[in-house]
């Protein structure tokens, strides 16, 4: 039996994560708090069901007409003066951004939060090219200082407590007075980052929704760093996935409403920013150039897969992550992927292939909590289970990369044997009798099974016999 490498690596990361008691406490506390907030913001289950039927339909409709909407979006954006670029993969996207920055002679970049930029590894590429990149979302700034990836798609530094942040800030801003107080730390970040906003040559941001009808980029945030990144520097580059488009502006309110309630329990975020063009000649501020990079990176392939296309409905609220019992225990870094939690377990294997990403589907108990809270009704547990099946028993011509590659012979043989016995009462009875007779010989160690549990021991009398003795007939 050869256990695939990624599985071993996942187990090692999980073991490591489970050993860090303080980090686990941070996650537990944060998740309990955020779940309570969501529950307060969406108190009525029937009302939620109705609302998400609408948002799910809006997203499904947009995906069904994706190529047409993207073309319309491009046309409107270009008419508004926003340049549109298309990237098939991470390398192309990075090259486009780097090119734009070089053409503008930009040496320093201030960034708003963008998971897509994490997906393509943009910061590293820019760093290697000698361009200084500063993350401006407080959580992103903290993990950037720590040299870590985000551990949550909405709250990147959720794994750190105030003491860890204080130590980090002391090391990086030694000229400032040390504080462990959250308000003091926030004020410190404000001071340090203000100067960066004023000096940056370019701003880079993500996008929450693209509106085809009006040619608009919609950005949702609480801090104001998104607004600053997109309006203070002379150049703004937005990057996002091709699935983010919706058709009409009037489809936005229901989506916005469920996005923020699901993510953080807020009826709305502090800022909702609608960007429909660069600074006009008579305006006194705003970027002179706005560019949008549309990234495929496997999304078109997912779009073509009838079984998994619903994955692309995702609006990245993070609710599935917040409600996942596995995530709460192991945290975001244990997944070792850009997107953690249930959405990660669903998206990453499709994006990276089952060989590299398939192990993530095992980080799921199929409890169903994620599917219950998803604001666009993605059937996450069912799809994650389907992905497991695709690893070992794929559909004919499954478009998933490495479909069937996780099958291994010993396991398949064992299941076949079991099926042969279980399907025939006589064989089954015979096996049960054999096992009860030999019960004293049952092994005490069963590999991975007994690492955390006790070995099962056959009972002296099997259930069928007990039932017969109690007067039940086999029929």
């Amino acid at each position: 039996m050869n256990v695939p490498g990624p599985m071993t690596a996942l187990r090692a990361r999980v073991r490591e994560a489970l050993g860090k008691a303080p980090v686990r406490r941070n996650f537990r506390a944060a998740m309990d708090g955020i779940r309570a907030k969501r529950a307060d913001a969406l108190p009525d289950a029937t009302d939620f069901a109705q609302r998400r039927a609408r948002t799910a339909a809006i997203r499904a409709r947009a995906l069904a007409r994706l190529p047409e909407l993207l073309e319309r979006l491009e046309q409107r954006l270009e008419a508004n003066g926003i340049r549109v670029h298309w990237a098939e993969d991470a390398a192309q996207a990075n090259a486009i951004v780097l090119d734009l920055l070089r053409q503008a002679g930009a040496r320093s970049v201030i960034k708003g939060k963008s998971m897509v930029s994490e997906e393509i590894g943009l910061n590293d590429v820019l760093g290697e090219a000698g361009i200084a990149v500063v993350e401006s979302d407080l959580g992103e700034y903290i993990v950037q200082l720590a040299g870590e990836p985000p551990s949550h798609i909405v709250a990147p530094a959720i794994h750190k407590n105030r003491h860890e942040v204080a130590t980090l800030f002391q090391a990086h801003h030694p000229q400032r007075e040390a504080t462990e107080d959250i308000e003091g730390l926030t004020a410190e970040a404000r001071q340090v980052l203000r100067a960066r906003f004023a000096q940056a040559d370019a701003g880079i941001s993500g996008v929450n929704f693209l509106v085809a009808e009006t040619g608009t980029l919609v950005l949702v945030e609480n801090e104001g760093n998104g607004r600053l990144s997109t309006s203070a520097p002379p150049l703004h580059i937005a990057i996002t996935g091709i699935e983010k488009v919706i058709e009409r502006l009037d489809e936005l309110p229901p989506l916005l409403d469920l996005l923020t309630r699901s993510a953080t329990g807020q009826p709305i975020t502090t800022y909702v920013n609608f960007i429909s063009g660069p600074r006009r000649a008579d305006e006194l501020d705003g970027p002179r150039e706005v560019h949008l990079v549309l990234l495929d990176n496997g999304r078109a392939r997912i779009h073509a897969d009838p079984l998994f296309a619903d994955t692309l409905r995702c609006i990245r609220c993070g609710a599935c992550i917040n409600h996942c019992p596995v995530y709460v225990q192991v945290g975001g870094h244990a997944y070792g992927s850009v997107y953690p939690g249930p959405i990660g377990a669903l998206l990453e294997p499709q994006r990276l292939g089952l060989e590299a990403g398939g192990s993530l589907t095992s980080a799921c108990t199929l409890c169903g909590a994620c599917g219950d809270v998803c604001p666009v009704a993605i059937p996450l547990p069912g799809l994650i289970n389907q992905l497991r099946a695709e690893g070992v028993e794929p559909r004919t011509d499954s478009p998933l990369p490495d479909a069937g590659r996780l099958r291994h012979r010993g396991e398949a043989l064992l299941w076949r044997l079991w099926a042969a016995i279980y399907a025939h009462p006589r064989r089954y009875r015979w096996l049960a009798r054999l096992l009860t007779a030999l019960r004293r010989l049952a092994p005490r160690r069963l590999g991975a099974w007994t690492r955390w549990r006790e070995a099962p021991r056959p009972a002296a009398r099997d259930l069928h016999r007990l039932a017969r003795e109690a007067g039940f007939s086999d029929e």
Partner: protein, 212 residues
């Protein structure tokens, strides 16, 4: 990169899928107009916005009283009506600055020396306590963002029940400005221990003067 574009669109066109009809979904109930101001106030105060109801011409008097009391000595206004009124009626102890030149000419001063910015707005949304701003030449984008205190004048007649109603009533699909905004409270973050903290990058305080 036209090649990338064509490849992506071609891949997306390999499937035909039925698009659900979103128009068939039941309408969302609208709100009753009577309670709009109360709702607006409740929603905005819940996120630490300050709301004051004033008679139409009283905002100048309010500023003259409150700004010095709050330690504001440098006030920034746009080139429109509000800025003009402020210029003709100076407030003792408060220096008025006008946002009348490109930001590049004075970015450092804007970021460092301005205590408060004042703007109008296109209206507001009662359900969420949100202000609708369309920055433009008279009231540039950073006027409502960089100063630590943002004061907004809102005409009570311009309240809408919810975002969908506002988008329809104000004809947003007929043409949006380069930047449109919803602002709901002062800037905030909960990135450290999920603890809510105010005034991270944008204004620390948001004051709305509801007029009329």
């Amino acid at each position: 990169m036209n090649e990338a574009r064509n490849h992506i669109l071609k891949r997306l066109r390999t499937v035909q899928r039925e698009a659900p009809d979103t128009n068939a979904l039941p309408a969302i109930a609208g709100a009753d107009a009577e309670t709009l101001i109360t709702r607006f106030r409740t929603a905005l105060e819940a996120v630490r916005g300050e709301v004051h109801r004033l008679r139409d011409g009283d905002w100048m008097g309010w500023l003259a009283r409150e700004l010095p009391a709050r330690g504001v000595s440098n006030l920034l206004a746009g080139t429109g009506k509000i800025g003009h009124t402020l210029q003709t009626h100076p407030i003792p102890g408060v220096t008025l600055h006008r946002y009348d030149r490109p930001v590049e000419d004075w970015k450092d001063a804007l970021f460092e020396h301005i205590d408060a910015g004042i703007t109008g707005c296109r209206g507001a949304i009662a359900a969420t306590g949100s202000l609708i701003l369309w920055p433009g030449p008279e009231e540039p984008r950073l006027l409502s963002l960089v100063p630590p205190l943002h004061i907004v004048l809102l005409d009570a007649a311009n309240l809408h029940a919810d975002l969908a109603t506002a988008i329809r009533a104000q004809g947003w699909t007929q043409g949006l400005p380069t930047n449109a905004l919803l602002i709901t409270g002062p800037s905030k973050t909960a990135d450290i221990e999920q603890t809510l903290t105010w005034g991270i990058h944008g204004p620390r305080e948001l004051v709305v003067l509801v007029l009329g």
